[in-house]
């Protein structure tokens, strides 16, 4: 189960499991966003390399346009994946 939508703060909120089967859903949602963006990951339980690819693709697109992507409320397990992947050096990350 994976869900992506805007929350009350106007940020993107992800929840559930962002795996290879859900990556296309996340990508098509994020492709519509322009300008600075924060993704609230408070409800995200799991991410695989397919999900990391979605985030990297969006971040590169936004940085190319002079804006950026911030990842907030990241749980410790997912933060470990970000560290293993070197994403902690590429993204602004705020841990839950």
């Amino acid at each position: 189960m994976f869900e992506i939508d805007f929350n009350d703060s106007g940020n993107v909120a992800m929840s559930g499991r962002l795996d290879a089967a859900q990556a296309a859903t996340a990508q098509s949602f994020l492709d519509r966003i322009e300008g600075n963006c924060a993704i609230d990951m408070a409800g995200l339980d799991y991410i695989s390399s397919a999900g990391l690819g979605v985030l990297l693709r969006m971040h590169k697109r936004m940085m190319g346009g002079g804006s950026g992507l911030e990842l907030v409320n990241v749980n410790s397990h997912i933060n470990d994946i970000f560290s293993y992947s070197g994403f902690d050096k590429l993204f602004k990350i705020r841990v839950k």
């Binding site: 795996d19 089967a21 390399s49 990391l52 990297l56 070197g86």
Partner: protein, 142 residues
């Protein structure tokens, strides 16, 4: 011991996760291992169905409880040799403009698994990995 087969489609990931959850509960395997096991299972399964296009056999997944953890095997029939333990090099220190989506899957498997072993006989690939609660990150090996 559990042995299941899965069709070569991403839709099967949900069933793999459900079966893994059930196996963990049935054998009282520490839930702290779930993320690592789920990740390695997904990455190896997706790698097989994406690149082993020369076969239409279902992928077999076996799980067995071991002392302090779990052993998981994925077997693919009718395929060319591909040893995932030999790859997975990613420059995680590269700047953003040099990073490209893709290539992280096997790298993460090698990071997450406490051990990983590859066998290839008669066009059958079998990958076995283990995760245990009593193995620290510094003790992990390939």
């Amino acid at each position: 011991m559990m042995k299941n087969t899965y069709a070569r489609t991403l839709d099967e990931l949900a069933r793999i996760v459900a079966d893994t959850e059930g196996f963990f509960a049935q054998h009282n395997i520490d839930e702290s291992l779930r993320m690592k096991v789920d990740l390695s299972l997904e990455e190896l399964f997706v790698n097989m169905i994406t690149y082993n296009t020369e076969t239409d056999h279902e992928v077999m997944v076996e799980m067995a409880p071991i002392d302090g953890g779990i052993a998981v095997s994925l077997t693919d029939h009718g395929v060319d040799r591909f040893d995932p333990t030999l790859g997975g090099e990613v420059d995680i220190n590269a700047p953003l403009d040099e990073r490209e989506p893709g290539g992280l899957g096997l790298y993460l498997v090698l990071k997450m698994a406490d051990s990983i072993h590859y066998e290839y006989h008669n066009r059958v690939s079998k990958i076995t990995f283990t995760n245990r609660t009593d193995v620290g990150e510094s003790e992990q090996h390939v």
